[in-house]
């Protein structure tokens, strides 16, 4: 599910509450399964600068799975095209590569719930497109519930099954829009057409998408 809405409307806070990082709220969070495994791809990759790429991805695994899981870590690093830099420190990586490490780290724990906070923002379009394709391929391989925050409506249409439109004051979901075409069939023309249709809808809640 893509969360879209204006800046400051509470999208990141929603993710943080879902992750259990933000506890200053009234109300409850209910998961389909108790204690889900959570993977979080932060807007800023938040890789530990004093540990290598491989160590960053390995450390999020429970201790019991680390030695046997060495193969799993290398598998995900290879899938992200990071095998060559596995022993480098994150400060030596480009932003795009750091984002890929963060993606590998989120996937290696085999998450039930994947939270992503504008993971491809400030990347050049070709790199962002490659990473979106990588994400889609990952999810084909191993489906998970994904909550994806983005300002980019095209990105939301490309990747999401459903788009949740949020508004501030108070933070709430004002519209839920299913994307009618299967992910594998969404070409540029379809994305543009659907985007134009959303922006043209008479309901004022869709103004925030412009």
């Amino acid at each position: 599910m893509a969360l879209v809405g204006p800046s400051g409307c509470g999208k990141t806070t929603t993710l943080n509450i879902a992750a259990g990082l933000d506890r200053a709220f009234d109300g409850t969070v209910t998961y389909a399964e108790p204690n889900p495994v959570i993977g979080y791809v932060f807007q800023n990759p938040r890789l530990l600068p004093w540990r290598t790429v491989r160590q960053n991805v390995t450390l999020v695994l429970p201790k019991a799975r680390r030695n046997g899981g060495g193969g799993l870590v290398d598998e995900w690093l290879s899938a992200m095209g990071l095998s060559d830099v596995a022993d480098q420190f994150p400060t030596r990586l480009s932003v795009g590569m750091a984002r890929r490490v963060a993606l590998a780290r989120a996937f290696v724990v085999q998450p039930d719930l994947l939270l992503m906070d504008e993971p491809f923002v400030s990347l050049d379009e070709p790199t962002a497109q490659r990473l979106r394709a990588l994400l889609a391929a990952m999810l084909e391989r191993r489906p998970a519930t994904v909550l994806f925050v983005t300002h980019n409506l095209r990105e939301a249409i490309q990747l999401a099954d459903r788009i949740l439109v949020m508004a501030p004051g108070p933070t709430r979901v004002v519209a839920e829009v299913p994307v009618p075409v299967a992910r594998g069939m969404r070409d540029d023309a379809m994305v543009e057409a659907f985007r134009a249709e959303l922006l043209a809808r008479p309901d004022p809640v869709f103004r925030v998408l412009a």
Binding site: G20, L21, V37, R46, L48, P49, W50, R92
Partner: protein, 258 residues
């Protein structure tokens, strides 16, 4: 521009600088022509005499052992307390005032009280040195704990990392510069206090020797032990502290030289 010549110059410069200092000392001693300021030659003679009899190494060894023991005790207790005060606002509010009191008690008072309460023992001596250093370590590590970047702690919480892993992989690496700072300033503080502790209540060590030579008014002896001791501490800094610090910070991006 960095070239071979510049590197040699960088290695040679400190040696030349010290040679100038020694030269200056020789000149002043010669001009003063006094018993109270022997020249480098006289001091060297004492050094050779003490080294060949083995006394120099015996006393240096004892003093270094006391320093090491006090250092380990002070760094362990001080770090644990500092991290606690830095991470827990309530602990900091409760014990902050105690820290201020202990920081301001003169070293001499702590040493004298330790000997009075616990006798003229090795434990009292080392304990007094450690107690002198602990508040400094607490202050530095408290600052370090306060400066910890919470985004990494949040990331670790999100991925449900075990507490021991959070400590080892997230918190401690961020505290390395603070450990290094506490270790360095601590070393400088400890070796000065160890000499006083030995002077007041031990019968061996560099401090004891200096006191002995003081009573005999033998300035060459005082200076000989001083030179030997400073040299050893410098060696420790060069051969132990700096390489260890270098290894722990090798992940840091290297700034290009202008």
């Amino acid at each position: 521009m960095i070239n071979g010549r510049t590197r040699w110059w960088r290695l040679l410069l400190p040696v030349l600088s010290l040679a100038v200092l020694v030269g200056l000392w020789a000149v002043v001693a010669h001009l003063a022509a006094s018993r109270t300021l022997p020249g480098p030659g006289a001091v060297l003679a004492v050094l050779v005499r003490e080294a060949s009899s083995g006394a120099l190494f015996h006393h240096l060894g004892i003093t270094l052992a006391r320093m090491a023991a006090a250092f380990v005790i002070a760094m362990s207790i001080g770090s644990a307390l500092g991290i606690l005060l830095g991470r827990s606002a309530s602990a900091d509010r409760l014990f902050g005032p105690w820290l201020t009191v202990f920081l301001n008690i003169p070293a001499l008072v702590i040493i004298v009280l330790a000997y009075v309460w616990f006798g003229l023992t090795e434990a009292a001596a080392i304990g007094a040195v450690a107690v002198n250093k602990i508040p400094n370590v607490v202050v530095v590590l408290r600052e370090g704990a306060r400066a910890i970047d919470e985004q990494y702690v949040e990331m670790a919480r999100c991925f449900r990392m075990a507490r021991s892993d959070v400590l080892r992989h997230v918190l401690l690496p961020q505290l390395t510069p603070y450990f290094a700072a506490a270790a360095r300033s601590g070393l400088a503080l400890i070796w000065k206090i160890v000499l006083v502790v030995e002077l007041l209540g031990r019968s061996d060590g560099v401090g004891f020797q200096i006191h002995l030579y003081f009573q005999m008014f033998d300035v060459a002896g005082i200076l000989a032990y001083t030179v030997a001791f400073v040299a050893v501490v410098q060696l420790l800094e060069l051969c132990v502290l700096q390489p260890v610090e270098g290894r722990l910070t090798r992940w840091r991006p290297v700034r290009a030289e202008a």
